[in-house]
Symmetry: C2
Subunit: 331 residues, 2 copies
DNA sequence: TTCTGAAATGAATACGTAACCATTAAAAGG
DNA sequence: CCTTTTAATGGTTACGTATTCATTTCAGAA
């Protein structure tokens, strides 16, 4: 491998000068500059970014721990995060966390020198949070947040759950049901709180309403839907905690020959890009901002990296996006 | 930052011994081992992977240059590639290439020390290929290939185009049309060749068949669809070069109030996960293997990294996946 | 007890760069 | 022409690890 020393020797200058040519060319005489540039060209020299990282104590890498891409929410956020970071000259180490591999990922990440970390997969009481704080590098959580209430960008989950549920109530549904995920995640917890709040307001007794707290894999949701079909009275409206769940419920409904929204109303939360596709056209609740949560988070993360902010605590307001999976209840 | 030297001092041993504790613990006396382990614990020492990379000349990083995730094909492949590499202990630097940023990405990648590169965005005559060969690190292209015909995993694009077209012909369609992308990409080129081959066999004159070669952004496809609606005779069957195109065509059809498959038959190529969703249920042609192209490629890349293979040249066979966007032509 | 070989440890160095400090060359001022 | 600045360059070191080679320690055999 050809190093800056080789270039220096070839050009008849010191390694220091070669370094200067690359980093502060205005400090080197035009004639020497040319000489060195030619040597670089001749020898096909490429600076070693690892060595640079070592001496500068900065890697130019950001770690992203995302949820899996079969959840369309993470398709949207990963896109924004990676593209934004790249545009700012950073590389992005991407991980897709699931139940199984999360511990492994955390260990790997904690042993890797990076300039910042952005993650979504954290649980409300996750000990990882404290390890991240110990690392003393900027980090931010998007979507989910931690009980310590620091370093996060989220949507107003309670309001989101409330708006979604309220929409169904307003359409005349009284037989609702809830399909959510584990309450160790702040998103599922908050959205369910909103669900209950809307039920109370509507005068519906919470204990009469079927609720499912499930893992969010296809198989799990399929099982939930099968259970749901056995309920009596059968719900006419399904409130899903995320678009990902809602979209898989749609899949199951169609699979079984049901008609949406006539047999079931379905509403989600997140307003993912895919929900806008005319084949899906999912009614949902999502962030008011034009930018998605991933974008907002990475933007804020850079603020922290540049010391413009110290600690991010941001909750974005939400609104309803009515589409074709919900409609006035027929009798 | 606490280094192995600090640990050494604290434990009263040499830095060499600390290094041994981490890498070859069987070579160090149990008593010393314990002493050092405790020091590591006490000082909260984490090895610096950058320094390690520098001395070992290997980074544990693989670069992935993928297409954008709004193309569902890359959702599937990115998932497999990242997860496989992670499982094998590698980190993955992810880039999403588009027309605009590809040059920038290439430059960044060429200046970054990594252990291997996997990419899909290459053009048939892309000079990048030669630069990659010069780097002398393992690399592989998936989906698209380069004119040099080395280092790739692809599907049989000609056969794919042929099967898709033939399916429409068999259903009784005579007014076909083709929507593809720029022919500098081997995928689009090959699939169109298959399209023509099937037309010839069906006795349809190629010059009577409308063809669109477009960029694959939503806006571009919308424009194409609007043009298509003005054609006379209006095509009854649309052959899209990729599922991504097909799915956006579906979106446009529904947007305009058309019914699928009655007003238009639509077929894609790639058999992406999303095409299986019941709301989409896209007829398509895809790889016969259970594994997707991304998985096959990353697997092969590891073979190369481990010197099990020198140069990959793999073309996977394909088959038809009939679903609900095509059907017998009604009169 | 002494010798021999293996086991355990340490000292020095390399990896390739940027940064700091020292030095030389050139330009400006009297 | 000499002095004083300023521009341009070079020598040396630090970053934190793994590796190579040399040295010490120790157990077992003679």
């Amino acid at each position: 491998m050809v190093s800056s020393k080789d270039v220096a020797k070839y050009a008849g200058v010191s390694q220091t000068t070669v370094s200067r040519v690359l980093n502060t060319p205005e400090l080197v005489k035009p004639k020497t500059l040319k000489k060195v540039m030619e040597a670089i060209e001749q020898l096909n020299y490429v600076p070693n970014d690892i060595a640079r990282s070592l001496v500068q104590q900065k890697t130019g890498i950001i770690t992203l721990i995302s949820g899996p891409l079969h959840n369309p929410f993470f398709v949207d956020t990963t896109t924004e995060i990676v593209n934004y970071a790249n545009a700012r000259g950073y590389k992005v180490n991407v991980y897709f966390g699931t139940e199984d591999n999360l511990e492994t990922i955390y260990n790997s990440v904690l042993e890797t020198k990076v300039d910042a970390i952005i993650l979504s997969s954290i649980r409300y009481t996750d000990p990882l949070f404290y390890k991240l704080e110990k690392l003393e590098i900027p980090f931010i959580m998007f979507n989910r947040k931690h009980q310590e209430n620091r370093h996060f960008v989220e949507i107003d989950n309670i309001e989101a759950g409330y708006l979604a549920t309220n929409h169904l109530v307003t359409l005349g549904h009284t037989d609702l049901c809830w399909i959510g995920g584990p309450h160790e995640m702040s998103t599922f917890f908050g959205r369910y709180e909103g669900f209950k709040k809307a039920l109370v307001e509507a005068g519906i007794a919470i204990n009469t309403v079927p609720t499912f707290f499930t893992n969010t894999s296809k198989g799990d949701i399929k099982r939930v839907f099968e259970e749901l079909l056995l309920l009596s009275p059968r719900p006419t409206a399904i409130c899903a905690a995320t678009d990902a769940i809602a979209i898989e419920i749609l899949n199951q409904c169609l699979e079984q020959g049901f008609d949406i929204p006539n047999d079931f109303n379905v509403i989600g939360i997140d307003n993912v890009e895919l929900s806008k596709h005319r084949s899906i056209s999912l009614t949902t609740v999502g962030i008011k901002s034009e930018k998605n949560l991933g974008f907002l988070a990475i933007e804020k993360l850079f603020d922290v990296m540049e010391k413009k902010s110290a600690c991010i605590q941001q909750t974005e307001s939400v609104k309803l996006f009515p589409r074709n999976t919900t409609g006035k209840k027929m009798n």
